[in-house]
Symmetry: C2
Subunit: 442 residues, 2 copies
Amino acid sequence: MAKISSNPVEDAPAAQSSQKRDAACRVALVGFGTVGRAVAKILCEGTDRSLRLTHICNRNIERKKQPWVPADVVWTEDFQTVLSSDADIVIELIGGLSPAEQMVRGALQAGKSVVTANKQLIAHHGPDLLQLANSLGCQLEFGASVAGGVPVLPALRTGLCGDRLHGIAGILNGTCNYILSRIENARIPFSEALEEAQARGYAEADASEDLDGGDARAKLAILALAGLQTRVAPETIRARTIRAVDAVDFDYAAELGCTVRQISRADLKGTTLFAEVGPSLVPISSPFGRVQANQNLVVTSGQYGGDIAFLGAGAGGDPTAVAVVSDVKFVAENLAARSNASRRDVARYVSTPATSSDFETPWYLRFFVRDQPGIVAKLAGILATHHLNIDAVLQKPGFDKATLPFVITLEPCRDSLLHPALEQMSALDFAIRPCLCLPILR
Amino acid sequence: MAKISSNPVEDAPAAQSSQKRDAACRVALVGFGTVGRAVAKILCEGTDRSLRLTHICNRNIERKKQPWVPADVVWTEDFQTVLSSDADIVIELIGGLSPAEQMVRGALQAGKSVVTANKQLIAHHGPDLLQLANSLGCQLEFGASVAGGVPVLPALRTGLCGDRLHGIAGILNGTCNYILSRIENARIPFSEALEEAQARGYAEADASEDLDGGDARAKLAILALAGLQTRVAPETIRARTIRAVDAVDFDYAAELGCTVRQISRADLKGTTLFAEVGPSLVPISSPFGRVQANQNLVVTSGQYGGDIAFLGAGAGGDPTAVAVVSDVKFVAENLAARSNASRRDVARYVSTPATSSDFETPWYLRFFVRDQPGIVAKLAGILATHHLNIDAVLQKPGFDKATLPFVITLEPCRDSLLHPALEQMSALDFAIRPCLCLPILR
C-alpha cells in the first residue's frame, strides 16, 4: 500500500492553485484498479485540454503500467510523491477507511482538492472531511460514492437543491440485485444464485458486506447527508440480510403483485430519520420492481417536485469513472474560476436526528413448517394477542408437507409492535426455519 | 405585457454583484403565472436567507397580488423598473420568443444574471444568449426549460459531463403522453382523449404545438445543445403528429410487445445529427413503455456510462419551480463566490452538424382499407419493388370489412428508402386513410 505522509505541506493551500490558473489542471490518481484504469483512460483519451493526468500512485506499479498512459505521467508507489507534487486535484480510489482517510486528510492539508469514490470514508467521515476541506479552501467531491454512474448526488447538489426532500429510497447494491433478480428469473435457491454471481465476478468470495447490507447502508447514509441534510452514522441504520430470501418468496410475492428487492430507504419525519436496508416486497409495476441485474435506482421524494427516479449502471469501471471524471471537471472549473473555492455549505449538514427503523408498513411473513393441524390457528392467536390484523393467508399447493411454506400478510403496523409477536411465533415447535418477515412497500 | 427597456444600464456588470457579496442575493421575478407563483412561494416560504425576492413583474398586478408575498416586494407592470433595480438575478417566466428575448438581453446587458424556463427562447437563441452572458460576465441558466422538475439538464452539466454522450431520447411532452396513455388504457378514439385532456387542463384549446411536435422538438434541440454539444435549429428537426394514432394501433402494438409514445430522439453519428420527434412503437417492458400520464422520461446514452434514465413530473407549477429555484441557488452561489463568474464554456457549443431524420429502424405500417381480394399481394409487390423486407403481416379479427385495419411490419431500413414506397401505396384505391408509418424502437 502507498505510504501515508505524516508531514503535510504547510503552504497556504489557496495560493498554490491560483498561481496555475491559466494552465491545465493537474490531476493525480491514487488507486489503479478497475475504476482507476477507467478514469485514466478517459483522462488520456479525452480532448479536454483543461485536465492533465500527472501521477498514478499504486502498489506494484511495474505490474500495473499501461502502454496508453503518456510517458510524462509519473508512476509511484509512494503517496508522499503525490503530496509534495504540484498536483491540484487528488483522486482517491483505494477505498476503505484506512489509509484512505489519512491520505485524503493529507491531500487537503497539502492544499489539494480531492475527488473520491469511497463510500465508507464519506459515510463515516463525510461531514468532518467537508469541514476540513472548507476550512482549507479546498474542495471535496464524492459523486461516485453512491450508485456509480447514476448522477443522483450531482442532481441533489444542483437540480434538486430548490426542493425540500423528505424521502430517498433506492436499489443501491448491484450484487444483491443481481442475486435477487436471478432467483426471480430462474427460481433457483439463494446459494446457487450466490455461487453464480461469484463465478461471474458480481460478488466477492466473502460477500457479507453486500448481502447483509453494510455496503448499501453506507450509501444510504451518504444520500441522507446530501439529500436530507442529516448526519447519520451508518451503523445506526438497521440492515437485514438477503440470505433468507428463497425462490418460493418470489412465488408468493407474485401472488401479491410484487417482487423482492434489497431496498434502502430513509424518510425524514419531524426530528426522526426512519431508515433501513433490507429485502422488501415492491410492486412489480413500480420502478423498483423492474430493476434488473446490477442496475441501480434511486427515487427522491420532494415537497414540491414529487418523486424523481434515476436509473442506470450502478457499478463497473467505466460508469463509475464517468462520475469521478465529472467531479474532477467540476472541481477544475471552480479552481480555474476563483482562488478560494468552497462549494459546500457545511452548515447545511448539522442536523443529527434520531435514527429509527420503526417503519409502519404492511408485512409479509413467510413460514416453513412441518405440517400439522392447527398451525394457522396458533399463529393467528399470537397475532391477535398483539392486536395485529391479518390481511391474507396464502398457501400454494404442491409442496412437501415436511417443509411446507406458507405466507401471512399483515395490515400496516409498526415494526416495534410486530417484533414481540415474531419472537413468540419463532418458539413454536412446528416452525422449521425462522419466520422471514419483509415489509411490503407500496 | 411589461415594457422592454431599450436603454440598458451601462455600468460594469460584474462590479455590481461583487459589491453585495455578503448580502442576500436579490431576485426579481418576471411572469407571475402558475410557475411564477410556485417559484415565489418557495422563495417566500424558504428558510434560505441567501435569496431575497425583491420584485414581481407582470401585467394586471392588482389582480395578481397574493397575501403571502412579503410587503417589501415591489409589484410592477414595467420591466424597466426591474432593469434599473439592484436585483442580481432576473427570473424570466413569461415564455415565448418576444418580448422574452428582448427582456433577457436587456437584463444581461444591465449586468444581471438570468434564470429562465423558456424552451423556445433557448432552443432558438440559446448559444447566442450564452455567448452574450459570457461576454458580460453574467450567468444564464435554463434547467427548467426541458422536462420541468426532472433534473436532466443539471445532470448534463455536472454528473454526466465526464462522459461522451452520443444519444438522447425522451418523452418530453406531457400532453401527448397523457393522450396516448389514455387511448392505451381506455381504448378511446384520439378525439375523445384530446377532449378529455382539454377538459382536465392537460391540453390547450389549440394543442397543435403539443400534438404536432413543436414543443418537444424545441426541448430536443436544447438537450442536443447541452448533452451532445450540437447547435441545431428546432425547425430542422422533423416532427410527426400524434393525431393519426388510433386505439387499434395499441392493439397491434401489443401484439408486438410494444405500446405507442411520442418519442424525441437525437443520435450523433460522425458529423450527422439524426433527430426526430413523433409517435413511435416502444417495448412495453422498456422505460419508455411504462411512462404514464404527464410524466417525462429522458434517457442519455454515453460511451462510458451507458444508458441513464431520468423520470419524474415533466410539468406543473411546483415541479418546474424546483428547477427554477435550483438554478437561482446555483447562480447565487457563484455570484457569492466570485466577481466575474462564467459557468458556460460556450466554445463547447460550436459544432453545427448536418441534421437528418433518416433513421434506420424496423417499421410499423398500419392501413385502413376497404376489404377486397389481393390487397396484401399488391402492397407486398410495391414493397418488393423497393427492396423492402416484410417482417410480419398482422390482422386482428372482428373489424368491419369496409374499414379494415391491418398492419405490416418491415425489417430495418432507412426512412428515405421507405418513403417512395409509401407514396405509391397511398395512391391505391382500397386505402381509405393514409398509411400510418411509425418507427419501432428497440
